[in-house]
Symmetry: C2
Subunit: 424 residues, 2 copies
């Protein structure tokens, strides 16, 4: 395994890791070992604000200028030699899933900050400004859907689109946001969105949240795009019966027809190349009593593929396959979400590839299986992402882990990519 | 359809139905139409006591003597020509499921009372006493398990066995029972159980709670026994993963292995004669999120058959079949309940068959799929049951229904059966 051939810049691996671990204290979930500790830090909470204040303190000490917009997106600006040039934007998010890990999101923000601080400490001038961004509510764990900050910034939705969305305590997104903005009233405000001057590029560093880099023994993922997703909800309605009395031929057993439907969907989604992702993650059965035949079964379908044609063909066949699988019950299939694949234009992926190669790191191109804020930037400016390995492919869980060395390698690649993009 | 060939006795169909409907008012669940109204009357509640007082009033007016035992079982005694002869015992229970119907249990008590009243009104003397019984807590809906009254009476468990069992409000069975006995302190007490003098026979009339009599166009079920039941709980443990990223070959998807296990159990329990009952009524998936591969799936198995050898063979194979179906996960299979089939000796079934035949009613022998108090009487005295059709096979639900004519036919058969058994 060759080491970095010619590291153009030194990033401070210890400082970087220490900051991640300080952030992980804010919302820490106790675990059996330090490496098993998770984080629960929902957006627009006092914990979220504590994390932002910690970052703002570091950023101000490093000489960056701080601002927020009306949906709470936080910006830390490194000035360029040409302050009027379109900036390079880089970052991710700071909120976590309720039972989340220490790396998802927050690493991309801290890597961006570490990159900018390293560039400044190395005395390297860039023509373009570089702005570090922390997007509001990427996870959607408290207020659904996620990616509100990047969607509002990119103009996909107005910033007021989710005012009425409530969390489980009944607090609306608008209430939480107003409270949050009041608590950060001392921070300078900036206009929402690119305001007619799109960034030169957007680069987001993130853990892979999948096992491919680890299983292939690689350091860096050059993300080519984000695979498409189609989500469906299926409801199967039958009839309750006494488990001891009703003959099977007379039953309308919703559980049995659900099993038939999932088995048929497994055949529909079979992919020898193992690229198509088919998941039934949510199942609900009613009345859910061990000695009663169920009259209702509901389940979710999550279907993903990087090729729009494959996703369209298989997704369009879902309802028919479910209906054909019904032996005794009636099924309703509703499509809840349909996002065709996003492809990043070559600017950022090519820069990431050059940076990884120059540092002697083992890299491959791959599509992201998960959503990211980066996909909402695509209509606004060239965007791209850098992945680092996830141990066991695990994320959204306290067991999420990437080593200090792997993170530092990713941060070095991000630094070189930003310099490349900010040069001209 | 021939009418009753030679009805030996007239039961008062209108009075009988009217009493059932009066009972249905106590705990009535409103429904869209009068025929859709259900009943929620839990044991040892003021509603339960109101129903018992209503019955006691009718029984005292009819000249029966009333007593209760220490677990609240209620007895209404018709004296025989030989007061020392072993009595014929008949009845059922008055409590309902939380979302129950108007017939389950209460009909067997009111049919028994109607039979005794008709016999008395016809001036027919019986050598043996006939006792109508209402057993405490058959359903187990408030305090689990059910059949406490009959179990304690038959000596299967001491009457104090369930003192610590609590309802969802935290009230213990002992508290509820003590309060109940205090409220009925004016009623004469009798010793618990047969006390060395077992009844001559026990006959329980009940709705079928299954569809066989209706689908075969029959009037009467001659119950030959109660099928055996084995209950299992299965837990499948895998690993959570991100639905968008984890390749299927690397997943440990608990939902997928559950689907494989249920499919394999369907093969194990396949019965061309459709006598074996296999039900998965309860399913739980964790974390139950549409975009997360489930790491845990739990499901229940309810397996019933009237033949002990079949039930033993198939039930013993369950764990192995589940284990063999696991592709990526680990399974734990726990047996939670194992009750071998109960067979009623010929005395009562033969008497029921003669009674139905004499009245020109269409009858068949069948095993009960559901539990009943009658099965706990089997070790004490010859027992048996009479079933009437259930519309659509539905029970434990407000839609439970049997017509006044069908109930009256069942009550006539019960009357003739009691006379037959009480004669000598």
């Amino acid at each position: 395994m060759p080491g970095p051939a010619a590291p153009a810049f030194v990033v401070d691996q210890e400082r970087h890791w220490s900051r991640l671990m300080q952030m992980a204290e804010l919302g820490a979930i106790p675990g059996p070992a330090p490496e098993d500790r998770g984080v629960n830090r929902a957006c627009l909470t006092p914990l979220d604000r504590a994390a932002r204040r910690l970052l703002i303190g570091w950023a101000e000490a490093a000489g960056l200028s701080v601002s927020i917009d009306e949906i709470g997106n936080l910006f830390l600006r490194h000035e360029g030699g040409d302050p009027g040039a379109a900036p390079v934007l880089t970052g991710s998010h700071m909120d976590t899933q309720p039972n989340g890990g220490r790396f998802d999101g927050i690493w991309g923000v801290l890597a961006a900050f570490e990159a900018v601080q390293s560039i400044r400490e190395a005395g390297i001038a860039t023509r373009r400004p570089i702005e570090v961004v922390a997007w509001t509510n990427e996870e959607g764990g408290r207020f659904a859907p996620g990616c509100m900050g990047s969607m509002a910034w990119a103009g996909a939705q107005p910033a007021t689109a989710w005012d009425a969305v409530t969390d489980t305590a009944g607090i609306s997104f608008r209430q939480a946001l107003d409270e949050h903005l009041a608590a950060e009233a001392d921070l300078p405000r900036r206009a929402l969105g690119p305001a007619g001057r799109p960034p030169h590029a957007y680069v987001e560093a993130h853990i892979e949240q999948g096992p491919l880099l680890e299983s292939d023994g690689l350091d860096i993922g050059i993300v080519t795009g984000i695979q498409g997703s189609r989500w469906f909800g299926v409801e199967i309605r039958g009839k309750t019966d006494h488990a001891g009395t009703a003959p099977l031929r007379l039953r309308q057993d919703a559980v049995q027809d659900m099993v038939r439907a999932i088995t048929a969907l497994n055949r529909l989604t079979h992919d020898p190349a193992d690229v198509l992702r088919f998941t039934v993650g949510k199942v609900e059965v009613l009345p859910n009593s061990s000695n009663t035949v169920a009259d209702t079964a509901r389940f979710s379908i999550d279907l993903r593929h990087p090729d729009a044609a494959v996703l369209t063909a298989r997704g369009d066949a879902v309802a028919g396959v479910v209906q054909a699988a019904m032996r005794h019950c009636r099924a309703t299939v509703q499509e809840r979400f349909n996002a065709l694949p996003t492809t990043f234009p070559p600017l950022v992926p090519d820069a990431v590839e050059r940076a990884a190669a120059a540092q002697g790191l083992r890299a491959r191109r791959l599509a992201s299986g998960a959503f990211h804020d980066a996909q909402f930037l695509v209509p606004v400016c060239p965007a791209g992402m850098i992945f680092v390995p996830s141990r066991g492919g695990i994320s959204h869980h306290p067991a999420e882990y990437t080593s200090p060395e792997q993170l530092a390698a990713g941060t070095r690649v991000l630094t070189a990519t930003l310099l490349d993009l900010a040069r001209d």
